[in-house]
């Protein structure tokens, strides 16, 4: 027998941006309590907690949250999956419910990143004065900058350039236009880190980080948290009419990793695992890419958004540039992408992102997205990639009226 449908009962996202007066636990608590209140339930109803905070050290974030919202003794899973951490937390709570361990779960993702610069890349501070081999490459000195780049803007720039090389007709300007779209979208999102529209010229002439990604084409480091309460069908049926009407169906919850392919050892392949996750999600939900009313995808860099049009099968293979040039992915287009502003403008508090994108979709499916509402939205898809790699895809559907 197929397991019961899973529903998002309550969901909350904090303002993304700078929160100098709040620590990680404050933000996570705000999101958790917000999600519980949104769902009309309390911590006493929750049977499992999954939580992620990638940059945090020491004690598990899940237990730290419990100490603010309720130490009810339930199992806690502290999860980490790079930028897919939030989606992993959500999926962990869903799996616990599907396994029959409980009928309600809470997932939380939180990060404090405002003011952080590059998050990756090797330091040369500890280089010795005599050559000594170490590491799996037997290196005598740091490799970042000597054997390619380990920075995220550089890695994702190459991922976009590889796509451009394979299919042609894609240049710096096209990548910049993607950032132009997402920054324009965020002007309607009061919770976004930035709500500033940039002209194409401003984007192209801004500080170059790693060609072709200039600064506004990179995800915005910021503080933020997001949380979701999930329940199974039987539990939902016991709740009020208004709770049932606002519930959003999780039609697919998929997590994949990157299968081995030639070249994945030198440049992470973010394509195949996304394509695999999308295929599994479409199969599980019975929903095709043509049915989607909106998509929140992992635009950690403008170069990444382009390849994911293709990976999520929003276009024919090789057709990502044509799809974008048609205007389809703008908020008034056929398949709006990142109407929240995306990671480039809404921001990317790493472990929160994989729940925040689900929050955005739910907001539209519930008809509660205000000025940026995609009218009549019934079905949406949320996608994240964590390098290493992990890909989370959630397909969400509005409750039947």
């Amino acid at each position: 027998m197929a397991s019961e449908d899973i529903w998002i009962l309550g969901i909350h996202m904090t303002k993304f941006g700078k929160h100098p007066d709040k620590d990680t636990v404050d933000l996570a608590t705000e999101a958790a309590l917000g999600a519980l209140a949104d769902g009309g339930v309390t911590m006493r109803d929750v049977g499992v907690l999954a939580a992620g905070n990638l940059m945090g050290r020491g004690a598990g974030i899940g237990q730290l949250i419990q100490k603010q919202v309720g130490q009810t003794g339930i199992p806690v899973y502290n999860v980490a999956n790079a930028c897919a951490t939030g989606a992993t937390a959500l999926r962990t709570a869903i799996m616990a419910i599907k396994a029959g361990e409980c009928d309600m779960g809470l997932a939380v993702g939180v990060e404090k990143l405002a003011g952080a610069g590059l998050l990756t890349g090797g330091s040369r501070a500890t280089e010795k004065d005599t050559w000594e081999r170490s590491g799996r490459y037997g290196e005598v000195a740091a490799l970042d900058g000597r054997v390619g780049t380990e920075t995220m803007p550089g890695v994702f720039a190459q991922i976009g350039m590889e796509y451009a090389h394979r299919y042609g007709g894609i240049d710096f300007e096209l990548f910049a236009q993607i950032a132009e779209k997402n920054h324009a979208h965020s002007t309607l999102n009061p919770l976004a880190s930035y709500q500033k529209r940039f002209t194409l010229e401003e984007i192209m002439n801004d500080v170059m980080i790693s060609f072709p990604n200039t600064r506004p084409m990179c995800s915005a480091n910021c503080d933020g948290a997001a949380a979701a309460v999930v329940v199974d069908d039987s539990k939902l049926k016991t709740l009020s009419g208004s709770q049932q009407r606002r519930a959003v169906k999780v039609s697919a919850s998929i997590l994949t990793t990157d299968p081995w392919e030639e070249a994945c050892q030198v440049l992470p392949n973010v394509n195949t695992l996304t394509r695999n996750a999308a295929a599994q999600a479409y199969e599980a939900s019975g929903i095709g890419p043509e049915d989607l009313d909106l998509v929140e995808l992992h635009d950690c860099f403008a170069t990444a958004e382009l390849v994911h049009y293709d990976n999520l099968m929003l276009c024919e293979p090789g057709g990502a540039a044509d799809l974008f040039r048609s205007g389809a992915t703008w908020r008034d287009g056929r398949i709006p992408v990142n109407v929240s502003g995306g990671l480039e403008s809404k921001g990317h508090p790493i472990a929160a992102t994989g729940i925040a994108n689900v929050w955005e979709i739910c907001h539209h499916l519930r008809g509660e997205a205000g000025d940026r509402q995609i009218e009549g939205a019934k079905v949406g898809l949320a996608h994240v990639i964590g390098l290493g790699s992990a890909c989370g895809v959630h397909v969400l559907e509005r409750a039947a009226a």
């Binding site: 330091s123 970042d144 803007p153 190459q158 030198v266």
Partner: protein, 137 residues
Amino acid sequence: MTAQIPLVDYLVLDPEPHLIAHECDGCAARYFDRRNACASCGGTAFHDEDVTTVGEVRAFTIVSLAAPGIPVPFVAAVVDCGGTSVRANLVNVPPDPAHVHTGMKVRLATQVVGTDSSGVEALGFGFEPLEGATDGQ
């Protein structure tokens, strides 16, 4: 002559500088790093194979922001060397989009990384354009 050592153990300096890959005996998957087992087939036996020193740029970026101490800008690239993908910098070419493009043909070149306190020189590698390159032979 100054004593020289390669930056990484998959760079071989003699008789001519070239890269070697650890190739899985079972499925021929290639790795530059030490692997306990093959990520493709699970096999645990590897042997070394030479990687051709000429290739084609399949992807690149021009890094303008990097960790402190790393000189920028530089060109980071993925080079297809006869079917084996290699991560490397592009060298002996101006780091700007007017001079670097995907599809360009390149060849392996060594570069001095530094000299340690005992006078040993470490040599790294990059790829330089085939066309217009100074022939060092």
